[in-house]
Symmetry: C2
Subunit: 328 residues, 2 copies
């Protein structure tokens, strides 16, 4: 029997939830991941909620400390994309009925380590038991200078597309964790798997970028999807030159052995790098910020008038799935 077509997450949000946010300007029509509100005379609060479910967003058998880190870091990555420095967070933990105290202890230890690493502190939350899988919701608060928060909506035609770090490791890491990619060395697979299991949000670089970038997102849904979100929110088109997309040695080896994996690299998610819209005149400021943060950055394309996402290779348009990895 055919299943009735259902709307996707973005359509669901636009249709049913964006109208509920109409009367709060800092919600930006739910077009960006973050909400913005005044914190004090000098600063704004940036707020982001993410839910991760065992078996959907992370591997249920992963170590509790790494699950804790992933839950926190996927939010911190959004705060970084908003230009914000981590501040405090609320934690909701829905534990499966088989929960054990040792698991909670290790989970809390993982949170403690990341609190020190990222300078963030727990400020409240809720703990419940569920008949379903482990489900973690974190609402993270960051701080940014008053009015300096970065959204997806400010890109201008002619701005360049830049990304931090390397792209595709997250999606390939999930494959590696599932036992795929036998063509790689064990070391390469381990590298990719760690990139999937333990995101490295760009919390140093992001807060250096207000005034430098015109729009920013983190690469969580997939490079083309997230670049496309910036283009949509900014009412522009975007083109990405595939040959310029920075790959790790492991990812390069994987796509060399199987070029079909380009779809995973460009369309998969979970990289938690930053994708930025940068005016040409700000290129040097961007490079200075990246040096200061010790993060590699790469120019991979350009925003232009129009709509949609195009991918080129050696300047020619190639097929590429814009759609990101859909957890939903």
């Amino acid at each position: 029997m055919a299943r009735a077509r259902r709307v996707g997450e973005f359509e669901l949000i636009a249709r049913y939830f964006a109208p509920l946010a109409r009367d709060f300007e800092g919600a930006g029509g739910l077009q960006s991941d973050n909400a913005f509100l005044p914190a004090d005379a000098r600063r704004d609060l940036v707020v982001k909620t993410d839910t991760i479910v065992a078996g959907v967003h992370f591997l249920a058998d992963d170590l509790p400390g790494r699950i804790a880190a992933k839950a926190l870091r996927v939010c911190l990555s959004d705060l970084a994309a908003g230009g914000a420095t981590p501040f405090i967070y609320q934690l909701s933990l829905a534990l499966p009925s088989t929960w054990e105290e040792a698991w909670v202890a290790a989970f809390a230890k993982g949170l403690a380590a990341d609190q020190r690493r990222f300078g963030i502190v727990l400020c409240g939350g809720d703990t419940v038991v569920t008949p379903g899988p482990l489900t973690i919701t974190i609402t993270a608060f960051g701080r940014v200078g008053r009015g300096e928060g970065v959204t997806r909506a400010g890109a201008r035609a002619g701005d360049e597309v830049w990304v931090s770090g390397t792209i595709g490791d997250g999606a390939l890491g999930l494959l590696a964790a599932q036992g795929a990619l036998p063509v790689l060395t064990a070391r390469q697979r381990a590298f990719l798997e760690t990139r999937y299991r333990l995101p490295q949000p760009r919390c140093i670089l992001g807060p250096l970028l207000p005034g430098v970038v015109t729009a920013m997102a983190d690469v969580s849904d997939g490079l083309l999807a997230d670049a496309g979100h910036i283009a949509d929110a900014s009412r522009l088109a975007v083109s990405v030159e595939r040959d310029d997309v920075p790959l790790s040695p492991a990812a390069r080896a994987a796509v060399a052995a199987n070029p079909g994996l380009w779809a995973n690299v460009l369309g998969g998610g979970d990289d938690y790098e930053l994708v930025m819209a940068v005016p040409v005149r700000r290129r040097e400021a961007l490079q200075a910020a990246a040096r200061r943060a010790g993060i590699r950055i790469t120019c991979i394309g350009r925003f232009a008038r129009g709509t949609g996402v195009a991918v080129t290779s050696c300047g020619r348009i190639v097929e590429a799935p814009r759609k990101g990895y859909v957890h939903f």
Copy 2:
């Protein structure tokens, strides 16, 4: 096989999560439900997260609009207990894989109605699909005058215990919804069931009480449990005169037919009334606030030096389960 004894929610929080909140003063050591942080020169933000799971915290077959209202109102009840006026909220919706668009539409309609009723606006969130039951997490933000937020920790020996509305309807309403309480009329059962399914958070009364009460909580875990939380956080004992606890006519009929139900009335949760510590000299200010809010209030006991929760009837100590309804 005997199941290993496990710690309860409060012990779990004290042992593993309170240490994570040590460096943020506004978390109050996680002893209160709310977190407090500066919003602007004149006001503080009050933040509260609650998660509700189908089949655990609400009946899975309930109407989507009522589920939406319950998810929001359990948070608003905590904000009211903090003395705060509703402001904005983040919503995380983990939908079971069988979700239907019509359900989401009705859920959003319920949120819209409550947004108008309580003056709160959606500001962001997340939507995911789960193999488990419907799980809703709301992080609600309220506002209160700078430094005026009310916690559980300020009660003084000699303060009176006051409650709003009537107590026990929530726990009896759950029984009624499950087909129990045949001794009641259909109308009485319907009244109690509605009290369970659709909390009425005291969002008008709560914000009138900073400067009047010394400590406050909402009755979500159960009257004795929540009065006990205030006593613990304030390092005091509390005694409650059972005969003074205000009951609705339906609840009065239920306990008259079966005095064993006093355990549900005093120990059950989900009333979402306010329990307050009030100095005798502020009694008139309290009564003026209650009149202004149009809410009945009743004095039911007193805080004193010492520890623990005592229940009296005609002045004699009676057995009563302090432990609230444990969802956990």
